[in-house]
Symmetry: C2
Subunit: 218 residues, 2 copies
DNA sequence: GTCTATAGCAGGATAGAC
DNA sequence: GTCTATCCTGCTATAGAC
């Protein structure tokens, strides 16, 4: 609303930014207003001044940071999709994997984004309606539209959705469950490894999709 | 240690049971000792009497409920695996999917089990060492041992682990992220639907695995 | 082993100076 | 818009009666 970057909004922005990081990392209840204001290098009273209370701050994180970022990721997915000329199943899966695992965000920001989303999926709050209504729902519908032409005619609606969810489960998993993944594989989440992750998701997901509706081989 | 079911241990057991349900559903910080003791129909002081403090109670949930249950699930997986005679790749994936999605636990208990595990994976506490050292690690090694023979000779260690993790990502996803799944598919987690989930995971996972190391089709 | 009562403290929220 | 000081609730943990 207000002009970005004015003196008036600097503290407010820092609070939002730090609050998102902390909520993503540890969840609403584990984070205190004192921590947030300390991280944002401002006063304890600032959260109440700008957002009324802690809960409103949480909601505002979704409205003004998470939501717009999700839209940027979606836009990126679409532009990569149409950049490759003809749309193939492989191109769709690759665009999805890259949007979630690599994308144009910093590694830290992408992790934060996934964590907030998964927290809402696992334990919905008021933000869930926004997350599913404005982001997950539309994305899901778009994926159905994209993938349907590559699936057998007779595939059911639910079966199609489960296929899409399975691809999504991988990208979520590899983003969110980093600790055990690093521990088990011994890898760090650096560029070569995330490249390998994308390649893996594309290959595994494509083969999974290609087998849809045929009862599975071997 | 003490004889199960004696008067002496009834309150303690109820606290453990209710604490696990609450911690799984909402996480350590969102749950209060008051809630736990209210749910267990005993006094506020009981948590400190039996467990010293709230944190020890959390750890005890993992030691005496979660850990043993994980071992039962593992045993179930093994027995189903050997029950089918010859071990096939499909048999392995099916045993895994059934152990996590159906299994012999009640639906509520399985959900609880997954939720606690994922909380630790996403945000490790002291319980993480136990979870990964005694459960996830051994299971992962067993899966490597089982699946390796079906993979191309030249497949790398990390590639193999990513394939295994991808199967696991699906069963975790379909267990944990129920809210959006139900919302999106319009399905309830009843028997027919979990059957469909198992079939889907088996088929999608099998196709994903069968394509491993070949660079993806189409 | 279970209870009541309460200490002690950390948290969210507010009042009011600057 | 930002700060300090403070209120008050609700929490964990403990003391001590039964």
């Amino acid at each position: 609303m207000a002009v970005e970057g004015t003196k008036a909004s600097i503290s407010r922005d820092r609070i939002l930014y730090e609050a998102e990081a902390l909520f993503a990392e540890r969840g609403f209840y584990a984070v205190t207003v004192r921590e947030i204001t300390r991280a944002a290098r401002c006063n304890l009273a600032a959260v109440n001044y700008y957002f009324g209370n802690k809960h409103n701050l949480y909601m505002e994180v979704f409205r003004s940071l998470w939501g717009p970022r999700a839209k940027r990721i979606f836009a990126r997915f679409e532009s990569q999709l149409s950049a490759g000329g003809e749309v193939t199943l492989k191109g769709i899966v690759r665009a999805l994997a890259e949007a979630f695992i690599k994308g144009h965000l910093s590694d830290e920001e992408r992790l934060r984004h996934s964590q907030l989303m998964i927290r809402e999926m696992a334990r919905p709050t008021e933000a869930f309606e926004m997350v599913i209504g404005e982001v997950i729902g539309p994305f899901q519908r778009r994926m159905v539209q994209l993938i349907r032409p590559f699936m057998p005619e007779e595939i059911g609606r639910v079966a199609l959705l489960l296929n899409i969810q399975s691809i999504i489960s991988m990208v979520i998993h590899f983003n969110f469950v980093r600790n055990p993944i690093m521990r088990i594989t011994g890898m760090q989440y650096d560029d070569p490894f995330t490249d390998e992750l994308v390649e893996h998701v594309v290959q595994f997901g494509l083969n999974g999709l290609n087998g849809a509706g045929q009862g599975g081989g071997r």
